[in-house]
């Protein structure tokens, strides 16, 4: 039940993204338009003659400001349609139309009720407003969200409904706007009675946050950061931005509700002297965090990375920082530490809460449309002037924050040896390696771009447990949000190999974090999923690793390349614990990219022949030996990444061309020395010509002694 609720919340959170994505543009129009039509600004900069009232520029800017303003005024309708689209499972266009219809109906019903009960004058000041020509209740974006959610629920239930032949014209999707109309007429009437006490309640809660003042601001910041990894922050902050929880204020003679609305109303009002921190306390802290704090954290992580890894993490952290600084999209940087180092995540939430509180205490008032990046700071801080926003104070506070983040992160990373990027154990390190490889390859084959995106989609689908396992795909600014039938089938390492920074699970809800490019990935994935199964299968995909196992299996089934009538058996070449290759988790051997086989976690540093064979190759670096027996080609790869040891720690006693009997000594390796250098000892034993065998079967797992039967080949 809890899991299901998370799944629904996740979808709701996502469905807000489409309407929210309009805000930056609307903000740009309103921000630029109203800044440069502001009498005070024009006078201050002596621009009245050049772009004062009556000039062409002034007219253009006025139109811009109006165009931006209309978005904010009609945000409830935009939310109604946007949420309807986001929450509808199929036939989303119908849900959009039905949402719009339902929104009109609901407000008309409320409007009717208001006039029956004596018109606007009979109600609390600020309780009613005029929207789209109707006198209705001030419900903000929440009103739209209620419509969107309700219509989507009706839609998902009825869009396939069937009627007797006489009424068949009205069945299916056509029924959705009809039922929405009927239902929302009643919802409107109901709202008339429900909304009055709710207004009182919301005002009280808003009052509580207002009364708790700076403490309330602190908790707002803390909780918002806390919710980020769960992707639920949109659900949380929106009421503050859009409803009376975020405050109510008289601006230019109108009662304005919601922090963001207040800020933009003040922005549009030329008489504003200084923006109110009552509204901006839910925003301004973000600039301090995103432009200064997080880059400080990134620098700390970079400085704490192992020297040989620095180059790798440099790119990751730099681009993540720039994204945060410019656009205020912080998932890339935050996801680089919150999963691997929950302690830093906890510290981060407290520091975030403090940033919001400090901004309020210092009376810094910079609003935002979307997120606290430089673009918004420029538009709503710098452009509005220091006298209205006190934005200059962000600089010293920011510098302090940069230092605080840098030093606390450095201190705790070292003290607790946290595994931030570039500090991972070998296990994870190789994952980075393969992902880097994958990225390289992707850029390499510019020709097959479409093919490439299909392969990416194919491996995302594999990682999600196959097409049949996916019941719903959505995305927000940075994450792919999927609902799956069986969460056990989801394979994180495959998903990470597709370029994901992190994977979040909640029951059947899965979020894969890709960063801002996620919308493209999602569109490709939709296209891919929409194809018929045979077509969707990418036949010869050398990449990604994930699909290899199946491809290999298929090959074996359909077209066994060489006739291999014999059967063969491979015996354990080492004492130790036998496991499946997939358990290595290194992203290469584990994905059977070099072939099928098994792995041994050795308990003794001695290798013997796994069958009667000839030594084909001994690597110069001594860490791997190729053996041939009949038509079995087998590689023993001692340890992982041990090619870098350049032979140190290995004492191989055989040469190319030597003939060995099963159990004959091949060589020794120094377990202690190799481990001390930081390498894993787990030893893959690979059938290099896997595609020449129909069946390769693991006979025994767990503890074995050298010479026991491990693998049967047919």
């Amino acid at each position: 039940m809890k899991d299901k609720a998370f799944g629904v919340l996740q979808r709701i959170g996502h469905s807000f993204m489409l309407p929210i994505s309009i805000l930056p543009v609307a903000g740009l129009l309103l921000g630029i338009g109203s800044s440069f039509t502001n009498q005070t600004t024009l006078e201050t900069y002596h621009l009245l003659g050049f772009m004062g009232p009556g000039t062409v520029i002034y007219s253009i800017l006025t139109v811009m400001a109006q165009c931006g303003d209309v978005i904010f005024t009609n945000l409830p309708l935009i939310f109604a349609v946007g949420v309807g689209i986001g929450m509808a499972k199929k036939e989303k266009s119908v849900a959009a139309l039905a949402s719009m219809v339902a929104y009109f109906i609901m407000n008309s019903a409320i409007s009717g009720m208001i006039s029956i009960h004596g018109g606007a004058k009979a109600f609390l000041n600020g309780a009613t407003c005029s929207l789209l020509g109707m006198t209705t209740f001030q419900m903000g974006a929440l009103g739209g969200i209620i419509v969107g959610l309700g219509v989507a629920a009706l839609h998902n239930r009825f869009y396939k409904i069937e009627f007797p032949a006489a009424f068949s014209f009205f069945q299916g999707t056509r029924f959705v706007p009809i039922i929405s109309t009927v239902v929302f007429a009643f919802v409107g009437i109901l709202m008339f009675y429900i909304w009055q006490p709710i207004q009182v309640g919301i005002n009280d809660l808003g009052g509580l946050v207002s009364k708790s003042g700076v403490i309330g601001t602190f908790f707002f910041g803390l909780i918002k950061r806390l919710l980020i990894p769960f992707g639920l922050h949109h659900v949380f902050y929106l009421p503050f931005w859009q409803t009376a929880i975020g405050g109510t204020m008289q601006v230019a003679g109108k009662e304005i509700v919601g922090a963001q609305n207040i800020f933009f109303a003040q922005l549009a009002d030329p008489s504003t002297m200084h923006f109110s921190t009552l509204a901006t306390r839910f925003f301004t802290g973000e600039f301090i965090l995103y432009i200064f704090g997080f880059p400080g954290a990134a620098l700390a992580m970079y400085r704490c990375a192992r020297p040989e890894k620095k180059k790798e993490v440099y790119g990751l952290l730099l681009s993540a920082s720039l994204t945060a600084i410019l656009t205020g999209i912080t998932e890339p940087i935050e996801f680089s530490f919150i999963f691997v180092a929950p302690a830093l995540y906890a510290i981060n939430t407290v520091l975030a809460g403090l940033a919001y509180a400090v901004a309020q205490l210092l009376n810094i008032a910079v609003g935002l449309t979307f997120s606290g990046g430089f673009i918004d700071l420029f538009l709503f801080g710098i452009l509005q002037g220091n006298s209205k926003t006190s934005w200059l104070l962000i600089l010293p506070v920011g510098i302090v924050y940069f230092a605080v983040y840098y030093f606390t992160f450095s201190f705790f990373i070292k003290k607790w040896n946290l595994k931030t990027p570039g500090r991972e154990t070998d296990d994870e390190e190789t994952k980075l390696y393969t992902r880097a490889d994958y990225e390289k390859k992707r850029s390499a084959s510019k020709t097959g771009k479409k093919e490439e995106s299909e392969r990416l989609s194919a491996s995302i689908v594999k990682g999600l447990g196959g097409k049949a396992n996916i019941s719903d795909v959505d995305c927000c600014a940075t994450r792919l949000r999927i609902t799956v039938a069986d969460s056990d089938l989801v394979n994180d390492s495959i998903l990470k190999s597709t370029g994901a920074a992190g994977v979040v699970h909640r029951g059947t809800g899965v979020q894969v974090v890709y960063g801002p490019k996620v919308t493209v990935i999602k569109s490709n994935l939709d296209d891919y999923l929409a194809k018929p199964a045979e077509e969707a299968e990418v036949p010869e995909a050398p990449e990604p690793a994930a699909s290899e196992a199946e491809t290999a299996e298929k090959q074996n089934k359909d077209e066994p390349k060489a006739s291999s009538p014999q059967k063969s058996v491979v015996y354990a070449p080492l004492n130790g614990r036998v496991m499946e290759l997939s358990e290595i988790g290194d992203g290469v051997f584990s994905e059977e990219m070099l072939g099928k086989g098994f792995a041994v976690d050795p308990s003794e540093g001695k290798v013997v022949a796994p069958f009667d064979c000839t030594v084909e190759t001994v690597f110069d670096t001594k860490h791997a030996i190729n053996l041939k027996s009949g038509n079995v080609e087998l590689m023993i790869h001692i340890g992982l990444d041990t090619v870098r040891l350049d032979g140190n720690g290995f004492d191989i006693r055989v040469q190319e061309g030597d003939k060995l009997k099963k159990g004959d000594l091949i060589g020794y390796f120094d377990m202690e020395a190799i481990q001390k250098e930081g390498y894993r000892l787990v030893t893959p034993v690979i059938i290099a010509n896997t595609d020449e065998w129909k069946k390769i079967e693991l006979l025994k797992k767990g503890s074995v002694t050298a010479g026991e039967k491990i693998l049967r080949l047919e």
Binding site: G595, E616, A624, V643, A688, N689
Partner: protein, 85 residues
């Protein structure tokens, strides 16, 4: 037939991991792919044969491709070498 030469830059030479990727890449083309080094030649679609050449950093290898898609194969493999080895 298409042919090109490449000098290995990777400090570890053609070891197991890149070899595995290279074999996959070679297998994605129809053309036969052969790598020649110091008189020894190996089928690039076979991991074992490829590893048997024991290619190290600084070695110059010759790659020969022959078949219907040999041009695409030469192009693709050149890029692969440049990116990975």
């Amino acid at each position: 037939m298409q042919e090109f030469q490449y000098t290995i830059q990777d400090e570890n030479g053609i070891h197991a991991r890149p070899a595995g990727l290279l074999v996959r890449k070679a297998q994605s083309y129809q053309s036969s792919a052969t790598m020649i080094h110091e008189g020894k030649s190996a089928d690039m679609k076979r991991l074992f044969a490829l590893l048997g050449l024991n290619i190290k950093q600084g070695n110059t290898v010759t790659v020969q491709l022959s078949g219907e898609d040999e041009e695409a194969a030469a192009q693709g493999l050149k890029e692969f070498f440049g990116e990975n080895l």
